[in-house]
């Protein structure tokens, strides 16, 4: 580290005035994102806590609600997100190596995967809307009660499952939308050639964020879709 940062000679234009050097700046932004992600874990954590408790109380309703979700779409969406994580990881690698065009392509692919995920999610939500599974005054669990006579379902407990389902997937989708927004910016600046092997923190920390959102889904998938798929007796 330089002792007198005011007189930085080989001044990289991306170096902000209060950092001594690029390395310090990079490490600070990366730590900042990690700490922010820890915060995000707790943000989702409140909902995971509510989920855990009500799943413990109302397992039947959670199982029935879980069965009513489309496991195909859920699995495909998980795969889509995993693919997007790969393109992000490769994108960061491209940025590290200064391959501008490859970086742009990979970032664009990530956006495409992200939008595909949101689209599939939208289809799932729309189905739920048609089935009157959106919590609120029009909520009804009648079709579930008919479909799964073996499972005892209390409609208001079923509503709690769907409240949590929409709250958790909704919050996750919100993060995805923000992620797509961030990646749009990243793509634009990558296209303009702003990122170099020396300076690509934004790609790196944007990538961290994207992977985190992926991890949340990696948990949401079994917690919501796979609660109880065993053949019913």
């Amino acid at each position: 580290m330089s002792n007198s940062p005011i007189a930085v000679e080989q001044h990289n234009p991306a170096l902000r005035h209060h950092f001594a050097d690029m390395e310090q700046q990079r490490q600070a932004s990366s730590l900042g994102m990690w700490v922010f992600l820890a915060t995000e874990v707790m943000f989702f954590g409140g909902m995971f806590c509510a989920y855990l408790i009500y799943r413990y109380w109302y397992f039947n309703e959670f199982a029935a609600g879980s069965r009513s979700l489309d496991i195909w779409l859920g699995t495909i969406n998980t795969a889509v997100l995993i693919c997007s994580s790969l393109t992000v990881a490769l994108g960061v690698r491209a940025a590290q190596m200064g391959k501008r065009k490859l970086l742009v392509v990979l970032l664009l692919l990530t956006i495409v995967f992200g939008v595909a995920f949101l689209g599939i999610k939208g289809v799932e939500w729309y189905t739920k809307f048609q089935e009157h599974h959106i919590p609120g005054s029009s909520f009804s669990a009648d079709n579930l009660i008919k479909e799964y006579p073996q499972i005892r379902i209390d409609p208001s407990h079923e509503q709690i499952f769907f409240s949590l389902y929409f709250a958790m997937t909704g919050l996750h989708a919100l993060h995805m939308i923000i992620g797509v927004g961030i990646f749009t910016f990243l793509t634009y600046y990558a296209w303009k050639g702003r990122y170099t092997p020396e300076y690509h923190n934004p790609v790196e920390i944007g990538g961290l964020y994207w992977h985190f959102v992926d991890i949340i889904w990696i948990y949401l998938f079994p917690l919501l879709y796979l609660i109880d798929r065993k053949p019913l007796k």
Binding site: R26, G74, I82, L86, I215, Y225
Partner: protein, 95 residues
């Protein structure tokens, strides 16, 4: 720069593993394992998350322990929230 450049083959390998695990976890859920279903689902999810954190998010290659510490702290605090609140719910009916 202190960050390592990871070979893309490794990334692709991780990616394939993740996809396989996704198919496995979805498939296993149809087999009746009793309470083990949940355990298996969570173990697979955690393994997948670990792969993403260690390789895609470069925690394995980080030169210092800081990002590991942040991950551990976040998980620790989450478990704190979950276990201590569950401590109430699980024991409410004890008598």
């Amino acid at each position: 720069m202190s960050e390592p450049i990871v070979p893309s083959k490794l990334y692709v390998g991780i990616w394939i593993t993740l996809l396989c695990l996704t198919v496995i976890t979805a498939g296993v859920s149809f087999i009746d394992l009793g309470p083990l279903n949940t355990v298996v689902a969570l173990v697979i999810a955690t393994f997948k998350a670990l792969l993403v954190v260690l390789f895609f998010m470069h925690v394995k290659y980080a030169s210092e322990k800081l990002s590991k510490m942040v991950v551990v702290a976040a998980v620790f605090w989450l478990l704190l929230l979950l276990t201590l609140s569950m401590a109430d719910y699980v024991t409410r009916l004890w008598s």
